[in-house]
Amino acid sequence: MISPLLLKPFLISPNRLLLCLLAGLSTGCVTTTVQEIRSAATGIGTTESVVVLARHDNAADESEDDFVSCVSGNLTEGKNGIGVMTEAEFVDALFPWFEPRTAPLNTSDLPEIVNQPILADKLNSIGVRYVIWIEGNTHRTSSGGAMTCSISVTGAGCFGFLSWENDSSYEASIWDIKHGNSVGKVSSDANGTSFMPAVVVPIPFIARVQTGACNSMSDQLKTFITKES
């Protein structure tokens, strides 16, 4: 238990508050690795777009919504940004063919979809050329340390040290809807350790592991799709 008298000067000092806010923005280190496997040539027209979808058939490996949104958002950015249709818009437009239990699992299932005139017309009208299936997730691999916080009528404070390690592992399979084949895969792995020392005020140093994996994957996907090879 920390004495409230010790807490008071820390809590009211604007300089210290600013210091804490700046420290809160600090991040831990993240290591990322990206790999790609190309099995066919790619390229995208100015009127064509892509859609990033999460696989929902395997609960253990299901990607988080925010990771899919992050990749989708990043693909549109920058000078080599590409057109992206949101997951919700795409599955609604193609309902009921891309629902969790009806979506094609392999490219061998694609002809059944793209060869139906009603679906082919819809795909042409929405302009989606590539479907990017994302699998994988981020999880905590280890954690340690201890922190005690107390609150009293004159203030509050914490003391201790916490650390934890997160690991991200994602794989994107890219399908060419126009030709009904798989054109390749991009995988992104990241890990990093976050820590939070606390002497009265906890100061988090968060390793943004998932964001690191997202940024690396997005950059690689943009190059993969736009590079005509």
Partner: protein, 226 residues
């Protein structure tokens, strides 16, 4: 703020304040422990992209379906209530309007004053949920078992088949500080409803009795029209 200043004045006030803080914390902890959710299902079902069958099928939605409410008390995890009745009309109207050339709502299994090839009557026979704390997973899950019945215009049963729908929602997709119970179970239910619509639209003609009925109609009246 006023109460905090008062607390500093006297020892008795301080004790009162601590007591109140303790009580507040206890209430907050109790509320946090008693989870549960009360959800009114709302939202839109997209129009299915399927080839229309040359059939005029009336849609009969029984009152029990339209007023369907799922309720369950899960020990240590509160009361769960999902009002899934009103959205059934939206779901089945949207799906059958895309599946058939005509799919009017009818008020009985043998409607009069309208020319139909059959009447479709869905009903819910089972509804189950599971929450992350029960399964030690990250998912809210919903299973809905419908019993679908297709009658001819005279009220004779043509086909009866189960339609099992499943939906899940990841707790991790909600904010750390957000109570994910209501949005989680709502999203899982909506996914299950879409799943029901998807399987009805895609598998209708795969039901053996319906396949046989359609084949018989094609033999009697080429083009499938009565």
């Amino acid at each position: 703020m006023t109460s905090e200043l008062n607390c500093r004045n006297t020892e008795s006030a301080r004790l009162k304040f601590i007591h109140r803080c303790g009580l507040g914390a206890l209430v907050a902890l109790t509320l946090a422990g008693c989870s549960g959710a009360k959800v009114q299902m709302e939202g839109d079902i997209p129009t299915p992209l399927v080839n229309q069958l040359p059939l005029r099928i009336g849609l009969y939605l029984e009152p029990a379906l339209m007023q369907y409410v799922f309720e369950e008390k899960i020990e240590e995890h509160g009361d769960w209530r999902i009002d899934a009745g009103p959205i059934q009309a939206k779901l089945f109207k949207q799906v059958t309007n895309a599946m058939f050339i005509e799919a009017p709502l009818v008020d009985s299994l043998t409607p009069t004053g309208v020319t139909l090839d059959g009447v479709l009557a869905p009903s819910i026979v089972d509804f189950q949920i599971s929450i992350p704390s029960q399964t030690r997973s990250e998912f809210y899950e919903v299973w809905i078992k419908y019993l679908m019945r297709l009658y001819d215009p005279q009220g004779t049963l043509i086909a009866e088949w189960p339609l099992t729908a499943y939906g899940k929602a990841n707790r991790g997709d909600f904010g750390v500080l957000e109570n994910s119970d209501a949005p989680g179970i709502r999203n899982a239910t909506m996914t299950a409803l879409r799943d029901a619509g998807a399987f009805l639209a895609l598998r209708f003609t795969s039901v053996p009795e319906i396949r046989a009925w359609l084949d018989a109609r094609a033999t009697v009246a080429p083009g499938g029209e009565t």
